[in-house]
């Protein structure tokens, strides 16, 4: 089964995108990295022969998560360092 190589490559790419999403200070880039994670996870579900799970992951990961997080960033701050008080989330609202 030579597609094991493709699964390993996609897993390495997904873990790299997850680490990038955690360490990134710009929240817009972190949201885009979350989209990459969802994309690769959907491809892995397809390779593991679960197309219905891949369909649900595509609908949730791209449409719902990205749009809601972008609207949240629009209403708050974009850079993580711009929080006035990290323990008070209401201080981030514009």
């Amino acid at each position: 089964m030579t597609y094991i190589i493709l699964i390993f490559f996609l897993l390495v790419l997904m873990v790299g995108a997850a680490i990038y999403s955690i360490v990134q200070k710009d929240l817009l880039y972190a949201v885009i990295a979350t989209g990459v994670i969802s994309l690769i996870l959907s491809a892995i579900f397809l390779l593991l022969q679960a197309p219905d799970v891949a369909l649900t992951e595509a609908a949730i990961g791209v449409a719902l998560t990205t749009i809601i997080f972008i609207i949240t960033i629009r209403n708050t701050v974009r850079h993580e360092d711009d929080f006035k008080d990290r323990n008070d989330l209401k201080s981030a609202i514009k």
């Binding site: 030579t2 493709l6 490559f9 790419l13 790299g16 995108a17 990038y20 817009l28 880039y29 949201v31 885009i32 990295a33 989209g35 990459v36 994309l39 690769i40 959907s42 491809a43 397809l46 390779l47 022969q49 197309p51 891949a54 369909l55 595509a58 609908a59 791209v62 449409a63 990205t66 749009i67 972008i70 609207i71 960033i73 629009r74």
Partner: protein, 85 residues
Amino acid sequence: MTYIIYIALFFMIAGLTMSAFRFVKGPTAGDRTVALDTLTIITVAAMVLLSYVFQRIIYLDVALVYAVLGFIGVIVIARYLEGAL
């Protein structure tokens, strides 16, 4: 016939690698958005190829849904960067 599939998989892995490099390194938000769009398109092509390899017609539905929804996600990010969302 199988050699063509292996060649296509090699080029897809090469394209994914280069797009991921641009995604990590890209200095502006536009670079990363276009890298996300490129990753989406290459993955949709890989899903269609896997649909042929495994001889499963339902895999095409996943590729169709991802092509439509990935477009919407990139449009939302672009509208945010434009400042008009």
